[in-house]
Each structure stands twice: as structure tokens, then as C-alpha cells.
């Protein structure tokens, strides 16, 4: 295949997000406005909203979650940007990662100079059983779901294949949860803005208050092995291996590189983009990695002209703990089968050589599915510009990467960012 290049340079000059969590009193419109304001506040030299020429909004299924279709023009209207073109992008949990790519391609093509990329999802309006049903439609409704698969079930099946081939243990998965909660504890926008130790302490206090026996976990690992505190969802995945059900919105401002300095003296350029598709899980020869993510990574690295060794920080799609381990291999940070050892050795912590999910990841920050991909770019924008506060990594982040997966890997989209 010919090596592909963008038609012209494209920069991120603003990025923001709503608080992630469960907000019974809010709809996607409210959260998107919140994300837009946060994004606008991040534009160093200010943004006149009228500069925006088009919107690409990632949204998995407001239809099922909120009984509201046709959401992109509503978002444009709520921030006062009609009659500009507003396009909804749907690729399950990769919806806004793909919206980011669509925005990137639109600016690179020369069609627009300023594009707003958004992500929206409100999931908590439905009872949990209905959320499970809505998410299942991102799988194959004819051949996978009737077999009894659920989303945790798909990733659990990948986990068994991975554990069987490489000897990984449930404890390696637990390390991913511990790390991502440690990071999320430093992110005030995160749904679970607390360490697992703090979660344990909260449960002890609550038991004491209710006059119940106070749990006696010796440490986090004992807590994570407790079937009552951390129940099995789809073996070997437990509750703390799963990302939560989240309401949230994200917003990223893309502009052509030529005009980036009108908005900031510190733009972040997107130098690589890759996207790939695949069939159902059972259509793949290898169940221990996500082929579309490997392909998308390869495309992004080739376009950027850099390698995995050059990347300082990555946000990857940890919808489940096993997904993060597989992701770190698919983006080339670790050899196939070595990701679980890297997690256990702490190589992916904020202070390790390959920091992963400094935001807390989907696991702790939350996973409003259609908003998660653009949310990864929000964290990268902060880390690259040294504005991640307490969770800022202690090194110069000149190159970073985002890895966003839809479904079980029917879609994957990877971006590479450079600070010049």
C-alpha cells in the first residue's frame, strides 16, 4: 500500500470535557455545552465560536440510551452554531475517535480551517439491564449475542485466550485497575476520582455506620479477590475489571496548522492517523490481540514517521483491564504476550517508562462510549502542554498516542500527536 500523508498540517488548539459520572438531571445537550465551555477555556488566545465551520460529533446510541436520534444538529444548535454542517459519527465505542479522524481529514483536505470534534453519551437514563442490551448491539446481533455473549463476556473470552497462551494471571489484570484508579484519583473530571484503597476505606466506613461487620481486607489485592466486594461479571473479569456506565461529553478544536498560532503559541499537531475495521470476534484468526488496532497503529506510525519507542505517553482503550494489556501490545509498546508482565512490573504507571492512561483511562475516568475517543485527546492535549496538574508525567512529552476501539475491535482508530 502507498504511504499516505495528510494534505496539510492539522493542529489541536483546544480540548475539554464535561465531568464524567452519573447525572440523572442532565441530557447530552447539557453535557456537551459543558464540554464546549471547558474546551473554549483551554484555547490560550481565546476562541470566537463563530470561527467554527463544521462539527463532527461521535455518539454511539442516543437512540437507545435517550430515545433521541439525529443528535449532531442538536449539539450545533445548543452551542449556537447552526446552520453549519453537523455530522454524527457512529462506530460504537470508537465513535468520537473516528469523529476526530473525520475532522482531521476535513481540515487536511482544505474544506475547512476550523472544525469542532465532539463526543457525547448519556447512558444512565436506562436501567442497567437495558444498558447491557444497548451495548450488546455493538456486537453481532445475529450470531454473537444469541450465543449468550455480553460485552464483558467478549473481553473475558479474549482474556481466557490470552491467559491460556501467555500464562497471564487475574492479578496482572488487577494491577491495571489499581494503576488506573491511582491516576483517576488525580483527575477531578473522573467518575471514580479515588484510589481503590480509598474505595475500600469508604466501604469500611459505610459498614461501620450501618452497624455491620467491618471488612478486614489486608490490602487492595485481598479486596479485589473478595467475591462480595468485587463480584464476578464474566469470568475471569470482575466488577473492577470493567469500565463503568457513564454520562459525559468531550470537545476538541482542530484547526489548520497555518492558523494554529492565532489560537495558541503551543499547538499540538496530529501527525499520524489510522483506522481499520474487522468482523466479529469469531471471524478472527487470533483472539489474543485486536487486528484492527494493530493495523490502525501501523497506519498511524507510518504516516507520522515515528515508532512505538518514540511515544512518551498513550491513552488506550481500557474498557476492560484485559483490553489495556492487549492494547499496549497492539500499539507496539510491548511484544505480544509481554503486556501482562509490563503491567505487573509497573512499566505503565505515571513514573514508569511507558505511561498509559494517565487520565485514569475508561476504567476510572469513566466510559461514556461515544465520548471516550475524543476524551483521550483531551488528556493528551493536557499532558503534552504540561497542564495535567498532579498527574503530569515527569518528562518532556513531544510525542503521544491515542488508541480507541469500537466493539471488540470491529473498529479501531489510532492518532499520533506531536508538540513542536
Amino acid at each position: 500500500m502507498t504511504k499516505r500523508k495528510l494534505g496539510r498540517g492539522v493542529a489541536v488548539v483546544g480540548a475539554g470535557m464535561s465531568k464524567f459520572g452519573a447525572f440523572p438531571e442532565k441530557t447530552t445537550r447539557d453535557l456537551f455545552v459543558e464540554a464546549f465551555k471547558d474546551m473554549r477555556a483551554s484555547v490560550d488566545k481565546g476562541l470566537d465560536a463563530n470561527d467554527i465551520e463544521a462539527l463532527y460529533i461521535g455518539n454511539y446510541s442516543s437512540d437507545l440510551f435517550e430515545r433521541q436520534g439525529h443528535t449532531a444538529p442538536i449539539m450545533a444548535d445548543w452551542i449556537g452554531l447552526t446552520p453549519r454542517p453537523a455530522t454524527r459519527v457512529e462506530d460504537a465505542c470508537a465513535s468520537s475517535g473516528v469523529a476526530l479522524r473525520q475532522g482531521l481529514l476535513a481540515v487536511a483536505s482544505g474544506a475547512y480551517d476550523v472544525v469542532l470534534v465532539g463526543g457525547i453519551e448519556v447512558m444512565n437514563k436506562l436501567p442497567i439491564a437495558e444498558v447491557t442490551e444497548a451495548l450488546a448491539t455493538a456486537g453481532d446481533m445475529l450470531y454473537e449475542i444469541p450465543a449468550g455473549f455480553t460485552f464483558p463476556g467478549f473481553y473475558a473470552a479474549m482474556a481466557t485466550a490470552y491467559m491460556h497462551r501467555y500464562g497471564a494471571t487475574p492479578e496482572a489484570l488487577m494491577q491495571v485497575a489499581l494503576k488506573n484508579h491511582d491516576n483517576g484519583a488525580l483527575n477531578e473530571k473522573a467518575q471514580f476520582n479515588s484510589t481503590i484503597a480509598a474505595v475500600m476505606e469508604g466501604k469500611r466506613r459505610s459498614a461501620e455506620k450501618k452497624g455491620r461487620p467491618i471488612p478486614t481486607w489486608a490490602n487492595e489485592m485481598e479486596f479485589l479477590h473478595d467475591d462480595r466486594a468485587n463480584p464476578m461479571i464474566a469470568w475471569p473479569l470482575r466488577l473492577f475489571d470493567c469500565s463503568p456506565v457513564t454520562d459525559g461529553a468531550t470537545a476538541v478544536l482542530l484547526v489548520s496548522e497555518e492558523i494554529a498560532r492565532q489560537y495558541t503559541d503551543d499547538p499540538i499537531t496530529i501527525i499520524g492517523s489510522g483506522q481499520a475495521s474487522d468482523g466479529a470476534l469469531h471471524d478472527r484468526p487470533d483472539l489474543t490481540s485486536i487486528g484492527a488496532a494493530k493495523k490502525a497503529s501501523q497506519m498511524a506510525y507510518e504516516m507520522a514517521g515515528v515508532t512505538a519507542n518514540d511515544i512518551k505517553v498513550a491513552e488506550v482503550h481500557d474498557c476492560f483491564t484485559i483490553a489495556e494489556i492487549i492494547a499496549t501490545e497492539d500499539i507496539g509498546f510491548f511484544e505480544p504476550g509481554k503486556g501482562h508482565e509490563a503491567a505487573e512490573e509497573g512499566l505503565t504507571t505515571r513514573h514508569g517508562p511507558k505511561p498509559i492512561n494517565t487520565s485514569g483511562g475508561l476504567k476510572s475516568k469513566g466510559h461514556p462510549v461515544g465520548a471516550s475517543g475524543a476524551g483521550q485527546a483531551v488528556e493528551i492535549f493536557k499532558q503534552m502542554r504540561g497542564k495535567a496538574g498532579e498527574r503530569q508525567v515527569d518528562r518532556d512529552v513531544d510525542l503521544a498516542l491515542t488508541h480507541n476501539v469500537g466493539g471488540t475491535g470491529q473498529t479501531a482508530v489510532v492518532h499520533i500527536y506531536e508538540r513542536k
Binding site: A129, G148, A157, A159, T160, I233, A234, W235
Partner: protein
């Protein structure tokens, strides 16, 4: 030979007759379970039905403790988990199916590779009656 279209409807009709059928590409010989109306490997348009042996082995699996509504209706819950997985047929293709005959309450990663044979589960009554694909250890 049969005239049935290479569709989910036909596949399901075969299942109700307790037959596991594959679509074979007349161009390149590739085999597809579930069936495809066009070959995704060579883009050929000539397909033929062939019955597969129904033998395979477990490639990946899980024991589901919180299932979808349909499985809850079938009697499964946290106290009675079920197994589902991906099965590689002896003929090559992989397919998702419920897994029977292994203890869902005591799953072990070592079960991967277990030889399995096709089974058919009947659920629902009258109009809602449907055959589900399963494999049994």
C-alpha cells in the same frame, strides 16, 4: 443441494432441523459458518451449502454471571452462570456458541482446546420457539 438463500434465515432453518451448515465458496473453496451470500475472501458470488462435521475445539470462553435478558429468561443468573465461547470447527471456521458440559461455576483456563461437538438448544414456545447453536464437551 438446496435452493436456500445464504442468509441468517436459512442458517436458522437448518439449525431448527439440527443441522450445522456452512457456505462454501465455489471460487476459492473457503468455508463460512455463519454463511455468507458473497465470498469475503475472493469476492466470488457462487456459494454452495455443505454440512460440517459439528466437531471442533474450544478457542476462547467465559462464564457469564450477569447475562442479557434472553439468558435470564432462560434461567441463568449469578447463582447459575452459563458458559459461552468461540469454537474452532475441525473444518477451520470459528463460531460463537453456548458451551455445555463444562462447569460454569468452576471455570479453568485449561479448558481451552477441549474437544466439543455440536448441540442444539430449543428455547421458547410455539411462535417464539427457536433453536440455539451450542457445543458440548
Amino acid at each position: 443441494m438446496t435452493e436456500r438463500a445464504f442468509s441468517e434465515h436459512s442458517f436458522q432453518t437448518f439449525l431448527s432441523e439440527h443441522k450445522l451448515m456452512a457456505a462454501k465458496c465455489e471460487g476459492c473453496g473457503a468455508l463460512f459458518v455463519p454463511p455468507r451470500p458473497m465470498c469475503p475472501d475472493c469476492h466470488g458470488e457462487e456459494m454452495a451449502w455443505v454440512e460440517v462435521s459439528g466437531k471442533g475445539k474450544l478457542a476462547a470462553f467465559t462464564a457469564v454471571y450477569i447475562g442479557p435478558n434472553a439468558m435470564i429468561a432462560a434461567g441463568y443468573d449469578r447463582k447459575n452462570p452459563y458458559m459461552t465461547g468461540v469454537v474452532q470447527l475441525d473444518e477451520g471456521p470459528l463460531i460463537s456458541a453456548q458451551i455445555l458440559g463444562l462447569d460454569a461455576a468452576q471455570p479453568e483456563v485449561g479448558s481451552i482446546g477441549t474437544p466439543l461437538k455440536v448441540a442444539f438448544i430449543e428455547r421458547g414456545e410455539e411462535e417464539a420457539q427457536r433453536t440455539f447453536l451450542a457445543f458440548e464437551a
